[in-house]
């Protein structure tokens, strides 16, 4: 049998029971790899359940910095009896099967291409610890200790992590460290040099951080000065609001009074959540909500009002697997069309596509500036993978000189200086954006009536076709202005430029770059464009025009970004090849590479023409 080998390059999957406290043990392992200076990406694959169902935690360790999901499992920590068979069968040939040998492995587990490593975790645990409540948790720490020995990890890094974790309760640190040592010693004694995978200290993470996208979004909103939050609990967005609440309790307390400089209102449903945001924004506060697909469906009515009445709103959509309730704890990028055109009538909304926690932070903060500048809802399109999983990311940065862009708002003094009649919907400088006022700003100037019905430039109700059309055309002009303010695509071209292009966005990013690199290594050059916003800027459409064939890679069935490109860019459909992965799991580079290979093979002529030597990536 050829055992899998790898230094700082492998995938471990932890198979656990939901609600058994495994998350913190698994996280302890991933964090230790990171603290040894090795890029790591943990993915939590969990059920819509609180206790009892199977859950997996997949950790990819990769020195080259490929932190997308890879696909295939090199080692499994099998501690869930329900999925023992599945985990055993799913292991890659040459892989390692670490299990709790307190009970022997069933006789029909007879693969001859895997290395079985049995550690009697339950027996070791019961022998060492009396407290029945603590045992299940400590059993998890035992397998982390065993892994440390098998993978030649520095035990001290794990001990330090535990000490840090329990610094407020050192009494708890003690049994945890003991459990860690138990597993470490047992595996070291019985399985020395059995495992050919290892983690070696290096210095590859720089000043990077490990953070989940939802925390980064919450920080972006905190730093951008959001004060009003309307929300309704829905997986996978809830932790944004929870994180915002925690940070507000810490950084938004008024010193002299102890009161909070924020209002976080848990609404009765998503309709009210977005209504609260719109009411607050109308009244001059920065406000946001976070939701997922089902919430978008409910918020659509209000999004149309905000579009038409021109009220800023920031909405973060942490997408999950649809349609309907779908797979609520699995990831997807399948709300593009429902968000881009949310609501009846000719309605459309700018979207932002962050790809990592740093961009979650930056784009959320920018969304407040954009929403107020453009006086329209801005939707940040995250997803469950980006939002709820920890990601290796560049550190967050805030420019101390940064000033909030509150947009075109007239205060009392500015209203007094006006020499012509003010109109709420009067475009005086040709960018489609008009000036607004906050309620109560001036005793008798700048007052207007906000409505979702048609109105003239002075906000008076009208059913006059001319006034209606003028308004719709101005909104279209504003849409064009939006393109100049939104973040542009990130394009990487070969020299000379390749004939093939790939378009993608959001959480697909790391897996796509890895796939493109592996294709290049095999002689196929593909230029790339990572989209960061909708509507598309001219540069984005130029990229497509300048390539013969463009793959549009996304995590949905129908190729929704492709549809948007064809529709908004007036593009020929056959030029855009849909590459879709939508099984609910984070995009895996191996399966993406396979899909790309198949798509290329179908167009065999292209493959032949694209001989090696097309140049290197810039």
């Amino acid at each position: 049998m050829k055992q899998l080998q790898g230094v700082n390059d492998f995938v471990i999957r932890f198979a656990n029971v939901n609600g058994s406290g495994s998350a913190s043990a698994n996280n302890l392992f991933a964090k230790a790899v990171f603290r040894m200076g090795v890029p790591v990406s943990p993915k939590n694959i969990f059920p819509s359940n609180i206790q009892g169902l199977p859950t997996w935690y997949e950790v990819r360790v990769n020195a080259q910095g490929y932190v997308g999901r890879r696909g295939d499992v090199d080692m499994v920590v099998a501690v869930n009896g329900q999925t023992l068979r599945q985990d055993y069968d799913g292991l890659a040939p040459g892989g390692y099967f670490l299990f709790d040998s307190s009970k022997p492995l069933p006789e029909d587990f007879r693969r001859d291409d895997v290395t079985v490593i049995g550690v009697p975790m339950t027996l070791l645990c019961n022998e060492a610890f009396d407290n029945p409540k603590m045992r299940p948790l400590l059993k998890n720490i035992i397998y982390v200790g065993a892994l440390a020995a098998l993978l030649d990890m520095e035990l001290q890094v794990l001990i330090d992590s535990l000490t840090k974790q329990f610094r407020k309760n050192p009494k708890l640190a003690e049994p945890n460290i003991q459990a860690l040592q138990l597993g470490y010693d047992y595996a070291g004694e019985h399985f020395q040099d059995v495992c050919k995978l290892s983690v070696q200290r290096c210095n590859l993470v720089g000043d990077g951080i490990i953070m989940d996208g939802n925390t980064a979004v919450a920080l972006g909103a905190l730093y951008a000065g959001a004060t009003v939050v309307g929300w309704y609990p829905i997986t996978p967005s809830t932790s944004i609001i929870e994180a915002f609440g925690r940070y507000a309790e810490k950084f938004r307390i008024e010193q002299d009074t102890g009161r909070i400089k924020a209002a976080i209102v848990q609404a009765e449903d998503e309709l009210a959540a977005i209504g609260i945001v719109i009411g607050a924004s109308w009244n001059g506060a920065r406000a946001f909500t976070a939701t997922s697909g089902p919430g978008i469906s409910l918020m659509s009515e209000f999004l149309g009002l905000a579009y038409f009445a021109e009220i800023p709103a920031v909405l973060v959509n942490v997408q999950r697997t649809g349609p309907s309730t779908g797979m609520p704890t699995r990831t997807q990028q399948s709300d593009l069309i429902s968000c881009a055109y949310a609501s009846h009538g000719d309605t459309k909304h700018p979207l932002l596509f962050p790809c990592d926690p740093k961009e979650c932070f930056d784009m959320t903060a920018d969304a407040f500036d954009l929403a107020e500048r453009l006086q329209t809802p801005i939707i940040v399109m995250s997803d469950l993978d980006l939002g709820m999983n920890d990601h290796y990311s560049p550190p967050l940065h805030w420019d101390p000189e940064r000033v909030y862009d509150r947009g075109k708002v007239l205060n009392a003094a500015q209203l007094d200086e006006l020499t012509t009649t003010w109109g709420r919907y009067l475009d005086t400088d040709g960018d489609g954006i008009c000036t607004r006022t906050y309620p109560g700003a001036h005793p008798d100037k700048g007052v207007y009536f906000t409505r979702g019905t048609s109105r003239n430039e002075y906000s008076a109700y009208t059913e006059d076709s001319g006034a209606y059309t003028r308004n719709m055309e101005r909104l279209q002009l504003k849409w064009e202005t939006a393109k100049t303010l939104l973040p542009g695509p990130r394009i990487k071209l070969h020299e000379p430029q390749a004939r093939l292009g790939a378009v993608f966005y959001g959480s697909s990013t790391p897996a796509v770059y890895e796939t493109i690199e592996s294709l290049r290594a095999r002689g196929i050059a593909v230029d790339t464009m990572r989209l960061r916003a909708f509507p598309f800027q001219p540069g984005a459409l130029d990229f497509i025009h300048h390539h013969e064939l463009v793959f549009v890679i996304e995590q949905n069935r129908d190729g929704q970004m492709r549809t948007l490109l064809i529709n908004e860019g007036d593009l020929t459909p056959h030029k855009l090849i849909a590459i879709t992965c939508y099984d609910g799991l984070p995009l895996a580079s191996r399966s993406l590479t396979q899909a790309m290979e198949e798509a290329l093979a179908e167009r065999g002529i292209l493959l032949q023409q694209l001989a090696p030597g097309q140049g290197d990536a810039q």
Binding site: L219, L222, G258, L271, G275, Y404, T437, Y448
Partner: protein, 350 residues
């Protein structure tokens, strides 16, 4: 079509204590049907705001969709208004109130807007005790879509088209009391004498004030067999305690010596003097207030006036412990923790 009200007023009309004339509280010309009860309510709102001397630009008018929700265009023309979407006024008002706790929020809705499509939002705005006056102009039918029954139409009531309403009606006042509103009243658009002080008290109460105003639809629901007709309401209504409302700015000139008068002091030190009939229910007691409504209903009577009052209630800001300064007035200095703190947060994620 847009109408403009002529701006000429008799020069000798006296201004209120704050120096505003009644004209300062008026709005555009109504486009409702001639004789619509809603227009009388608008007049009562104008009168109440004038008498209280509220600065018009410090009031924010909020509404949903329907005949009633159009009315904010017909009063307080110097106030910002927000005519939102059907049944969703309470959430817009919640957000607006969170952004600036210093404005006065006046929400106007209808029985369709509140008791059907907006039932959830109504219930939860009351539960969070939002500091606002919520007025329902209640005509028991959908006017703009030509007279279908609404959820407040009484069981057995007969509309203009002759069909009998077979469904149980929703009593919004009873619900508001159950859900925690601190001031609940019922008025009648045909009784401005009673309605104006009700609105004044509602505007002065801290927390959610709810006033259900029966307001006959002259076009679709004013036939004698309708329980929301002028005729029926006049014949079948009975007031709770008669009362006087004394805004805190006014010197109290009336002396009440008798035992049958109870003074309820509101949050802003305004006082409601309730003149109790012997054996009348205590409107400061929630259970008696609900019994009182049910007892009258059983007798086929419509109870009007102050139905329940509890001045000591915590509003949404109190519950959330938000700062006294309006959130929309805070700047980068107040809100942004700064780059040094972000460096610490980065460090905690390594």
């Amino acid at each position: 079509m847009t109408f403009f009200r002529p701006s000429f007023r008799h020069p000798d009309l006296p201004p209120n204590e704050a120096g505003y004339t009644r004209r300062d509280y008026e709005g555009g010309i109504s486009t409702l049907c001639a004789g619509c009860g809603h227009d009388s309510i608008c007049n009562a709102i104008i009168q109440a705001c004038f008498e209280l001397g509220l600065p018009p630009h410090r009031v924010a008018k909020m509404s949903g969709i329907g005949c009633s929700s159009k009315t904010p265009a017909y009063f307080l023309g110097k106030s910002h208004g927000f005519n939102s979407v059907h049944g969703r006024m309470p959430s817009i008002a919640t957000g607006a109130n969170m952004a600036n706790r210093e404005l006065i929020y006046l929400g106007v809705s209808g029985d369709g807007d509140t008791a059907s499509i907006g039932m959830g939002q109504f219930a939860h705005a009351v539960r969070r005790n939002l500091n606002m006056l919520y007025i329902v102009m209640n005509n028991g039918c959908y006017g703009l879509t030509k007279g279908q029954y609404s959820a407040t139409a009484d069981k057995g009531s007969k509309g203009k088209k002759g069909g009998v309403n077979a469904l149980e009606s929703i009593d919004l006042c009873e619900l508001a009391i159950q859900l925690g509103a601190g001031f609940v009243a019922r008025g009648f658009s045909g009784d401005k004498q009673q309605l104006t002080p009700l609105i004044k008290a509602g505007l002065s109460h801290h927390g959610l004030s709810f006033i259900d105003v029966i307001s006959p639809c002259v076009t679709f629901n004013n036939n004698p067999e309708s329980t929301k007709s002028y005729h029926w309401v006049r014949e079948h209504s009975e007031a709770t305690n008669t009362f006087d409302f004394v805004p805190f700015r006014q010197t109290i000139t009336t002396e009440y010596q008798d035992d049958a008068t109870e003074a309820v002091t509101l949050h802003d030190n305004s006082v409601i003097h309730l003149h109790k009939h012997p054996h009348a229910a205590d409107v400061t007691d929630r259970r008696q207030a609900i019994d009182n409504l049910e007892d009258h209903k059983a007798q086929g009577m419509i109870l009007t006036g102050v139905l329940y009052v509890n001045p000591a209630s915590a509003d949404t800001h109190d519950i959330l412990n938000t700062c006294e300064r309006p959130l929309n007035s805070l700047t980068e200095t107040d809100l942004c923790p700064g780059s040094a703190v972000l460096e610490e947060i980065n460090a905690a994620h390594r």
